[in-house]
């Protein structure tokens, strides 16, 4: 592999998402927060106090959706035969209009480009002790709505209501932001700087909706618009791989 073919300048394409404000395009960097709706943790109940957790998280729990996960509305998302289904977590992302580090909530508010409806899919997670990369980093598992909603369309605080329709059956879900968006982003930015076009997913609703191979889904986020996608059976290779992963 010679340096002339080397990926230094290779652009990694980001799914087409319209952004009518600086920086006019997404960077492709997507971080998310697990625990910004108090009901999410409450659902774990006493288990959160037992090993391995030994207590509720003291700070926002972050995860990354790497570039192989990014997909646009209309995607076909492969799920492995075992377990054969995804947890679909609708959420909303803060899109950064400019770089931020060690920012105050006011500085964050001035830097928001807009809000993006996102469907964050993962294979079922039995535990949150380890980062669950083999569940969360599946190809196409971060579906982005087609357009970033303008900053004025959401206050960044309070309740976000979603409707998740799977094969025609609708489930309402909502996300109650324990930390408002600006406060959450400011806290994370104390040690992790954000770039223009980055996304910070603002939390997970208390529970997901299950979606299996062969099912289509639509996520509606009120003023945030809608996205849809389809889950398909993952095509396994014919030859033995020499490795296994769930």
């Amino acid at each position: 592999m010679s340096i002339s073919t080397f990926p230094w300048t290779a652009a990694r394409s980001v799914p087409p998402v319209a952004l009518a404000a600086p920086p006019w395009q997404l960077s492709g960097v997507v971080h998310g927060v697990l625990n910004n709706d108090g009901r999410w943790l409450a659902r774990l109940g006493a288990a959160a106090l037992e090993p391995p957790y030994r207590g509720a998280p003291r700070t926002p729990v972050l995860y990354l959706k790497p570039h192989n996960t990014l997909a646009s509305s209309g995607a076909r998302i492969p799920v492995p035969a075992r377990p054969g289904w995804f947890e679909l977590w609708p959420t909303i992302g803060l899109v950064f209009g400019s770089p931020l580090a060690r920012a105050t909530p006011d500085a964050v508010n001035r830097a928001i480009a807009g809000w993006l409806l996102v469907a964050d899919l993962s294979l079922p997670q039995e535990s949150y002790y380890r980062p669950n990369i083999s569940q969360k980093a599946r190809d196409q598992s971060c579906v982005l709505a087609p357009e970033v909603a303008p900053v004025g369309r959401f206050s960044g605080a309070g309740l976000v209501a979603f409707e998740v329709e799977v094969d025609g059956v609708s489930t309402p879900l909502d996300l109650e932001l324990e930390r408002p968006a600006a406060e959450l982003a400011a806290e994370v930015s104390r040690f992790l700087s954000f770039g223009a076009g980055d996304i910070l997913l603002l939390g997970l609703p208390p529970q997901p909706v299950a979606v299996r191979a062969g099912q289509r889904f639509t996520v509606r986020g009120g003023d945030m618009g809608a996205l849809d996608a389809e889950v398909i059976a993952e095509a396994m290779p014919q030859a033995e791989t020499g490795a296994s992963a769930r």
Binding site: R12, H31, T59, Y63, I133, P237
Partner: protein
């Protein structure tokens, strides 16, 4: 080939190793200290392994709450990446921030379901990584969590990308860390629990790997605290010597008690 990316005289250059420093594409030879070192490749997804050396697992044994069945994998974002001869902010008030000398494997040809027997053909090359950790920030949710591992400047990469053809066996490399000139960590990639080819097969079984994605393959025992002003050199025989200096960060969240 040993290739680098450096900033010099107003632009970013491709460069190759030279006995007197680096040689830019246009032939100019510039001293190592006279350029700004970037990571030697366009960094895609950073996939890091924890507990991938047997002795280091024993070192942290008391912290292991559950048995280890699969490789422990976590991701680091682009905010963390830093080049050779850079400065990483060391949060004032944190009691334990330690280096981790790691062999970094850079993907050249991507793929999914890569068989172990083909895996090394997918490697563009190797570089050195120092995968810092701030243990004070560790929590038991998605552990090792971002506040411990994903801090700005916590993933030091370089100096050179050594092409795969120059590393005949990635499982036969001695590595060490020096702090202020004294060796504090030593090991060999022979002691990896899951080797490079197996890691590529394991990861590509559940996610598509792309050119520029990089696997940080873990660190042996011997990690220890470093403080502001320390010069940390992570060295892997045949791959390179990566220098990083800690600088004091009085503005860190650990400095605020409450």
């Amino acid at each position: 080939m040993r290739t680098a990316r450096v900033g010099y005289a107003g632009r970013i250059h491709d460069a190759v190793w030279h006995p007197d420093g680096v040689e830019l594409t246009d032939g100019r030879v510039v001293g190592e200290a006279d350029v700004v070192w970037l990571p030697p490749f366009a960094v895609g997804t950073v996939i890091a392994l924890g507990l991938n050396y047997a002795a280091h697992r024993r070192e942290l044994q008391s912290e292991l709450a559950v048995a280890q069945e699969e490789p422990l994998v976590f991701l680091k974002g682009p905010n963390t990446v830093l080049g050779h001869r850079g400065f990483t902010r060391r949060p004032a008030g944190a009691k334990m921030m330690h280096f981790e000398c790691e062999l970094a494997v850079v993907i050249g040809r991507g793929g999914r379901f890569i068989p172990v027997r083909d895996a090394l053909e997918h490697v563009a090359g190797y570089t050195v990584c120092n995968d810092y950790a701030v243990r004070d920030a560790l929590e038991n949710w998605y552990r090792p969590n971002a506040r411990a591992k994903n801090r700005d400047g916590a993933t030091v990469l370089g100096p050179y990308l050594v092409s795969a053809d120059e590393v005949s066996d990635p499982q036969a490399l001695d590595l060490r860390t020096r702090v202020n000139g004294r060796i504090v960590q030593e090991g060999s990639t022979a002691d990896m629990v899951t080797g490079v080819a197996e890691l590529i097969a394991y990861l590509s079984a559940f996610m598509t790997l792309a050119p520029g994605d990089v696997i940080l393959t873990g660190t042996p025992e011997g990690v220890s605290n470093v403080v502001a002003g320390d010069e940390v050199v992570c060295e892997i025989d045949g791959v390179g010597s990566l220098l990083n200096t800690l600088m004091d960060d009085r503005d860190s969240e650990f400095a605020v008690k409450g």
